[in-house]
């Protein structure tokens, strides 16, 4: 498989970006994930993942609005590229194939 492999954290962020749609900027992504994972994340971690994925062409970004709350600084809105969608689907397929191949025994016993 020569395609870009996604890290677990990157995969989560990418999905959050798609879920949030028009509103996918740094803080909103962070809030979304913090809510779902129920843990504090650092801005640095989120941003690092975003920048890496931007370099790989998985997300693209453009300037958004600036608000008073942000001290007049603009947001940066991220959106997933087709490559990213494809990569997510591939990940999902690989996962479900693997799930299917898992022996059922263990679960039944549990």
């Amino acid at each position: 498989m020569k395609k870009t492999r996604l890290g677990e954290f990157q995969e989560l962020i990418l999905m959050a970006v798609i879920v949030l749609g028009e509103n996918a900027y740094g803080n909103e992504i962070q809030r979304e994930l913090e809510g779902r994972l129920d843990e504090r994340l650092s801005t640095g971690a989120i941003q690092t993942a975003l920048k890496r994925m931007e370099d790989k062409g998985l997300v693209k970004s453009e300037w958004g609005e600036a608000t008073q709350k942000r001290g007049g600084k603009r947001k940066r809105i991220y959106s997933a590229t087709p490559v990213a969608h494809k990569a997510l689907h591939e990940m999902k397929d690989i996962r479900s194939q693997l799930w299917d191949a898992m022996p059922k025994l263990g679960i039944n016993n549990a």
Partner: protein
């Protein structure tokens, strides 16, 4: 509630580190998060979280990439900058030429001085095995006039120190004195040569460049001799034949055959000149009486062991001499040999900067001349900034960052200084011969190539100093204003420019003042009445057959038309004359036993020949047989002895001398020193003939003297000196300093004035409309000139006010080194100030006058 803004410092701290492309987004995100946190947890915790978050941004993906800027097309920028520079040079030719001229002369002066300083610093720096542990012994003796420090020591000293002092690794001696000069001969070829007698170990510390022979074996026999390549070339057809040949030495103490065991080439970095090396063993054979504690002669050189503390050692040996000879209360100390050349002056028995003073003075001059040239560049570039408003405005508008503009201007000044360097090197090569003549050095431009790195760094520093301020100033324009062509003349910039002009002219005035004072002092030294007539006296050595049998020679000399008097003496006039202490007289104050008396010891008629003035009694004369034990003293001697009528009194020095006359005080030595007690005494022998000749037909007279000398003394070359030249040699350094400072200050003034010229030309041009309107309203040319020159003249006056006290302080220090010196009269201050004002005023007026001839209609046509 506490304020709801996040702390500013974390970002301020990290802004430089974080990739600038992400900065806005990240700052915004974190601010927003802070606001949210404030509501959720209160401002205190929010602030803490904020700080933490900011620091967590320091991750590889988010920080600035070091190579980020180089993504700009570097080569393209470089080409563009060079192109713009060259176009600017071409468009504003006069500015370019003035800048270039300033930098070229500045750099050329700096290079010449740098070569000289480098040569001075390398004097006596050798790289032999033990050169780093090489010390020389010096002895200080106290007498009423101060402390006298000398380097001649008792011969047994080195051997004793080797035994007594564990710090001494080994020691050896050197004897070097014109006393032992002789004539070398081989097959009817003759050459005069100065010897250096050297002990074992000499070659471990002194460099000696052997062309033939080698350090180990050259003094296997005490009758061996090592000669310089120059001597070898004179004596032998081919210098490879020299080794093994037996040559003849004829001198006062050393005569006979010597076998050549080596030929050396003088190193060029040694401070003393000699033509032949002989062994110290040979010296003791010729002068066995020197091998006593009470006779001081040879220099003592020590090689100390590693890790010996110099000050401890000096403390230990201070009174060493008294342990060997109880009458000897002189103090002894050692000095690191490589330092002795530059720190070879002694005050109160301590070494102080001698030549080092001149090294410092000239380094400063070089620095200042270069600085003046840089200031010209700064002033011209900032003053003419308006020419580049549009360029800067457009560049900024399309996104040039400030540091890119800075780099452009620095690059421009760099291009300029590298261009200047190339031309300066050419000038140095052209002028080096003249420079060598003035400084008495043998510098070669090839040494520039060894110094390529320092020279390049001097050039780079010049470029940076010149370019930094204009770069800062020009790149600071606001693009909008710059494009409109209306940059409000920044008051700060104007002040800096004025300050720089004041600085430039302060240096110029100090230099003018210095030159005037040095010139006056040197002139004073040369012209002042020495108390005897030193002109038209020649001297030559009394040697060979003439050493003992001179009576007929002197008689024959006197018969030559054009010779007015002839005699002989020990030593020479204008060089050192003999001196001694431990003289006694009636009713002597016991302290005066140690007063040094100087004396000229020689033939009849010396005092008459010198034309000293007799104030009492008579001169020494052949008519009195008893005059063999008679003396003629000077006024200072009479004063010290305390006699109103000294004639008829007696002076004892072991022998008894009758005082038969008193002469007026005269300067028998240089004017560094006060006149000392002195007397004339007769002796049946001497070392130099002294002949007074008429001022006319001197060439004819001297060639007749030479003919006579050669018939009396075949085999000895006739070499004569004029006594006043000897005397001038005492002030050779001062003369050199005077000449050099004259040249360098002329250059400094020239560069400053050129800068001033360009500044006035420019400011006149800026005010051309004002001038035209004033003319329409009826201003006269003179009024306009006055208006234009006023600003700058005020600056020059300020410079003069600063410079004169500074200059007088510096020169007072310098003059204090002379016993006989001029006073700093107000005329020097007025002269240097007036000179500066008038030079500057002419410079300005020449520009201003041109502007008053403008065509009014041409100037007012526009607008």
């Amino acid at each position: 509630m506490a304020t709801k803004s996040p702390p500013k410092w974390p970002f301020r701290l990290l802004r430089k580190l974080i990739n600038p492309w992400f900065l806005e987004e990240l700052e915004g995100d974190l601010k927003e998060r802070f606001e949210d946190n404030c509501e959720a947890f209160g401002s205190v915790k929010a602030r803490r979280l904020y700080i933490l978050d900011v620091f967590k941004l320091l991750r590889p993906a988010l920080i600035r990439k070091p190579g980020l800027k180089t993504q700009i097309n570097l080569i393209g920028m470089f080409k563009h900058n060079i192109l713009i520079s060259l176009r600017n040079f071409k468009r504003y030719k006069s500015t370019f030429l003035i800048n270039l001229f300033g930098l070229v002369t500045g750099l050329a002066s700096a290079l010449l001085i740098f070569l000289w300083v480098n040569d001075e610093l390398n004097m006596d720096q050798y790289d032999e095995v033990d050169s780093q542990r090489h010390y020389q012994v010096l002895i200080s003796s106290e007498h009423p006039n101060g402390v006298d420090t000398h380097n001649y020591t008792p011969t047994p000293l080195t051997a004793a120190m080797e035994v007594d002092l564990p710090e001494v690794d080994y020691a050896f001696q050197i004897v070097e004195s014109t006393h032992y000069n002789g004539v070398l001969s081989f097959n009817n070829q003759f050459i005069r040569a100065a010897p250096r007698f050297v002990g074992n170990g000499y070659f471990n510390v002194f460099e000696c460049d052997f062309l033939f022979g080698n350090k180990q074996g050259v003094f296997a026999d005490k009758n061996n001799i090592v000669i310089s390549d120059k001597v070898a070339k004179t004596l032998f057809e081919n210098i490879d034949e020299a080794v093994g040949k037996t040559i003849n030495l004829n001198g006062e103490y050393f005569n006979g055959p010597f076998v050549v065991s080596g030929v050396f080439k003088p190193t060029g970095t040694g401070s003393s000149g000699f033509d032949m090396l002989l062994s110290f063993e040979q010296f003791l054979t010729g002068r066995p009486e020197m091998n006593e504690w009470y006779n001081e002669g040879p220099q003592a050189h020590l090689v100390l062991k590693d890790g010996v503390d110099l000050s401890d050692f000096n403390q230990k040996i201070e009174n060493y001499l008294s342990t060997k000879d109880e009458h000897n209360d002189n103090k002894m100390f050692v000095q690191y040999y490589p330092e002795m050349y530059l720190y070879g002056k002694y005050e109160n028995g301590f070494p102080v900067a001698g030549r080092m003073v001149y090294v410092r003075i000239f380094s400063l001059i070089a620095l200042f001349v270069l600085l003046i040239a840089c200031i010209n560049y700064m002033n011209l570039s900032t003053a003419q900034a308006s020419r580049r408003y549009k360029e800067i405005g457009i560049k900024k508008a399309i996104g040039a960052r400030r540091n890119a503009l800075m780099i452009q201007y620095l690059g421009e000044s760099m291009v300029m200084s590298i261009l200047a360097l190339v031309l300066a090197v050419g000038i140095v090569i052209l002028l080096l011969r003249q420079f060598n003549e003035i400084t008495g050095k043998d510098l070669s431009y090839t040494s520039m190539f060894n110094l390529i790195l320092p020279i390049l760094s001097i050039t780079c520093v010049t470029g940076i100093i010149s370019g930094v301020y204009p770069g800062l100033y020009l790149s600071n324009f606001r693009p909008l204003q710059a494009l409109k062509g209306k940059v409000s003349s920044n008051a700060g910039g104007l002040w800096v420019r004025k300050g720089l002009v004041v600085f430039q002219f302060t240096i110029s005035v100090v230099l003018i003042f210095t030159v005037i004072v040095i010139y006056k002092q040197v002139e004073y030294l040369n012209k002042v009445n020495l108390g005897y007539n030193q002109e038209h006296i020649i001297s030559f050595r009394q040697e060979g057959k003439l050493a003992g049998d001179y009576e007929t020679f002197i008689d024959e000399l006197k018969k030559i038309p054009g010779v007015s008097n002839a005699s002989y003496m020990w030593g020479n006039l204008g060089e050192r004359v003999s001196s001694r202490y431990n003289l006694q007289w009636k009713d002597q104050n016991p302290e005066d036993r140690s007063t040094w008396f100087h004396f000229i010891e020689g033939g009849h008629g010396m005092a008459e020949l010198m034309e000293v003035e007799l104030i009492e009694g008579r001169f020494l004369s052949k008519d009195f047989v008893s005059d063999e034990s008679a003396i003629v003293i000077n006024e200072t001697a009479a004063k010290i002895m305390g006699y109103e009528k000294p004639v008829g009194e007696k002076l004892y020095s072991g022998d008894m001398y009758n005082i038969v006359g008193v002469v007026k005080d005269f300067h028998f030595q240089g004017m560094y020193e006060k006149i000392k007690p002195f007397y004339f005494v007769l002796d049946s022998d001497g070392s130099n003939f002294i002949v007074r000749i008429d001022s006319r037909n001197q060439f004819e007279t001297v060639s007749q003297i030479e003919k006579l000398h050669n018939t009396f003394n075949p085999g000895y070359p006739f070499e004569f000196k004029f006594v006043d030249e000897n005397y001038q040699k005492l002030y050779l350094e001062e003369e050199r300093i005077a000449t050099l400072s004259k040249y360098f200050s002329t250059i400094a003034i020239l560069i400053s004035c050129l800068g001033l010229l360009a500044l006035t030309a420019f400011s006149t041009q800026m005010r051309i409309k004002e001038i035209a309107i004033r003319k329409v309203l009826g201003s006269s040319s003179f009024q306009i000139s006055k208006l234009l020159s006023r600003d700058y003249i005020i600056l020059i006056v300020v410079a003069i006010v600063i410079a004169l006290p500074l200059g007088s302080y510096l020169m007072k220090n310098w003059l204090d080194g002379f016993a006989y010196r001029i006073d700093l009269s107000p005329i020097y201050f007025i002269l240097s100030g007036g000179l500066m004002i008038s030079i500057a005023w002419f410079t300005i007026i020449s520009q201003a006058a041109k502007s008053t001839k403008i065509k009014i209609t041409e100037c007012l046509k526009e607008d």
